[in-house]
């Protein structure tokens, strides 16, 4: 499979907002089941270990007209839950036997309650990740939450969740995360060879495709990237941050790069790399997953920052690691986690002398001219004045 075929495969899944590819996957073998996961972080290993396909639920993006979804939300609530409800009400999530709602924000949290009332026959679970990142308190709590989840999903799927099954799942997701990290490393090194729009659709496909298939596609893509280098262009290297839950439309990602930027780091689809190091395959798998969470989860708005300097230093660290020249704070409108974090992150960036711009989007934003102008001007200013 060559590079364009891989991207075509990924794009097809990305555009399949109604999850027909999941339906096809389930039809291929009797007894297969799938569980939906709202953003941002659900331990996919547990879903996989319980014999179910984890399916990222990212709404309808800019490819869905919202009619019923708006009847559930006031105008001042973000867009993602509207399109998620729209799809559900249109019967597009019929393939899912369970829906998991992690503790991302109060909107996702309360969506779990809406779901349990709208679909009383479906398994609905709110997953409260620990906020105390200490093994004996937060770790122990999280272990038990995951064990309960595994038990429940195992009952749904009819699969006994053994330690061996869990370890196999952990090994697979360790490999998937390694490949995602490798892809990000590759983009940092040669951003001209990894257009962010390609990276993005590939990762979106990974939210839905079976992990074994995703691993194969990722390997093939990385190989294709290294064997067919593209020519660098004179663009500004930027970090895009704030887009970890409701996703920007693909057109916006393309616009940023077409306007003269290379995205060299971002927090799109952050759940796929929430654990920054491999999870141990030794000992109790739930303990290992909990340990990985409390020790090696990514710094982001979803978990309390215990280090008083943590917020101030985060953007400087990310900019240095990615050798970026500026930051684009791109947050969805009405997104509490991103928008409440932003002043702290920006203050740190300002103190470190890092240039930044900010804008808000919605998943269904259709006009990109203003973003093109803003990002273009930002890229120009970095190129003209960046070293001044």
């Amino acid at each position: 499979m060559n590079r364009s075929e891989i991207i075509d495969w990924a794009t097809e899944i990305y555009e399949d907002v109604g999850l027909s590819c999941v339906e096809r996957f389930l039809e291929q073998a009797p007894g297969r089941k799938a569980a939906g996961m709202l953003p941002v972080y659900v331990p996919r290993e547990v879903v996989h270990g319980a014999g179910m396909l984890p399916v990222g639920i990212w709404g309808g993006g800019d490819r869905l007209e919202i009619i019923k979804g708006d009847a559930f939300y006031q105008s001042y609530i973000c867009h993602l839950p509207r399109s998620v409800i729209e799809l559900a009400q249109a019967g597009r999530f019929g393939a899912l036997s369970a829906m998991l709602f992690p503790s991302t924000c109060d909107v996702i949290r309360n969506l779990s309650g809406i779901w349990s009332m709208l679909y009383p026959g479906l398994y609905v679970r709110y997953l409260d990740v620990p906020q105390v990142l200490e093994a004996e308190t937060g770790g122990r709590f999280w272990q038990q939450e995951m064990r309960d989840l595994a038990r429940d999903l195992g009952e749904l799927s009819g699969v006994a969740v053994t330690a061996d099954r869990m370890r196999r799942a952990i090994a697979l997701y360790n490999e998937a995360r390694r490949l995602v990290r490798a892809l990000y490393d590759q983009r940092r090194t040669t951003p001209w060879a990894v257009p962010s729009a390609e990276l993005y659709v590939l990762l979106r496909a990974g939210e839905v495709a079976p992990v074994e298939l995703f691993i194969g596609k990722m390997r093939a893509y990385l190989e294709a990237v290294t064997s067919s280098p593209m020519r660098p262009k004179d663009r500004a290297r930027v970090v895009v941050t704030g887009a970890f839950c409701e996703q920007p439309p693909l057109g916006l990602i393309k616009t940023i790069e077409r306007a003269g930027c290379y995205i060299v780091d971002d927090d799109f689809l952050l759940g796929n790399r929430f654990l920054t190091q491999d999870v141990s395959l030794e000992g109790d798998p739930f303990e290992a997953l909990a340990e990985a969470f409390v020790r090696h989860s990514v710094k982001c708005a979803l978990v309390f920052e215990a280090d008083p300097m943590g917020k101030k230093s985060l953007m400087k660290k990310r900019v240095e690691e990615s050798r970026a020249e500026g930051i684009i704070f791109a947050a969805p409108s009405f997104c509490d986690p991103a928008l409440l974090d932003q002043p702290m992150l920006k203050a740190g960036a300002d103190a470190a002398g890092i240039a930044s711009i900010a804008f808000r989007y919605a998943e269904n934003t259709g006009q990109f001219q203003q973003f093109r102008e803003q990002a273009g001007t930002f890229a120009d200013s970095i190129k003209l004045w960046g070293d001044a």
Binding site: I77, C105, V107, R109, G113, D128, D336, D341, P343, K346
Partner: protein
Amino acid sequence: MPDVAKDRSMQLQKEMIGRHFDKLARAREQGRKVVYTFVPGNLTELLLSFDVLPVLPEINALQSGMRGTSGRYIMEAEKAGHSEDVCTYVKCDIGMLRSGNIGPTGQPLPLPDLLLLSYTGCYTFMKWFELLREAYDCPTVFFHVPYQGQGVMTPQHREYMVRQLREQVIPALERVSGRRYDEDRLRALLRQSRQAEDDLVAVFEAAKGVPSPLDAYFGGVYYVGPIFSAFRGSQEAAEYYRALREEVEDRAARGLGPVTPEGPLNDQRYRLVVEGPPNWTHFREFWKMFYDEKAVVVASTYTKVGGTYDGGFRHDPDDPLGTLADYCAGCYTNLSLPNRVEMIARYLHDYKADGFLINSVKSCNSFSAGQLMILREVERRTGVPGAFIESDLVDPRYFSAANIKNRLESYFQMIDARGAGRSQ
């Protein structure tokens, strides 16, 4: 301006709050330590057992809203880069801080010695104290109260909370206060909480009578003031609630309604249940829209954000840390949406209400996200149509009086058309 009619309990409360802010103003010179914390899931008895003074930024923000200063504070925060999309309590607090941190009584608030981040039922709390920590440069202790998404608190949730109290919160308070944890003292405070809680429940349940001797929303927010803030567990709170209960029971015995700013509301035409916080910037104007129509609120969910005592919970002095965990987990915004629906439906039945109203505030996703589903579901279960209005907590830009009044009047007409309204 005409004199505003007030209950005796309101005067008592005013004096209590005045004394508290006096203590806060003198905290530094008297060497008292100050802990900032939140209303839902507050650990007031524990704080008082260490002899530290609680400050509740939400209360400061709502007081700023009532005193007409919140708009300026919010603008100040927005000028400093805080988004117009986020919670106005936070922005009001940040703006107040940037404007000299003068508290609601006009006295300067002391800087915190500790931020006790009781993470109960509201995501924004986490960011709020991360933001404050940037400004105050003081230690922060995090207390994570798991959300009751599945409708119940599991033993592991309880154990997680108790462990945090024992291993994180108490040591942090010991460091700040210089005192050792004194469980006997905590038990004694919890005993006083129980008494106040019994009296508070009796007060709210008096609204089951016809006419209702209280307004459980506009009056109710005053009634919960002490128990939701710096006073639960104190002797003065116990005395306040005993006095309040006597006052309400006396009114009930005499067949009188609540005292509104323009006098008693004895002739009650509509009995309502209200979900959601009030608007604070136009509180009296908002209330007037109800009593002008002879509408009394007989039960409200907002008065349960700092504890749901009417479900039977009381602080248990025999299990001091476990009972604090139980208390926190049960606060209203920590309940699942189905549990919230159940509570509203129960109130409609138990309080013989004619209708229910949702005041959806822009600032608070914890309350507001899902309220349209709550509306549908309560209507479906009870057959009682609800009303839905929108405003904000403390941002005066989001209070449209004409729009709200229009909706309320239409709603009351609908209740009449259904033959549910009553005349005394």
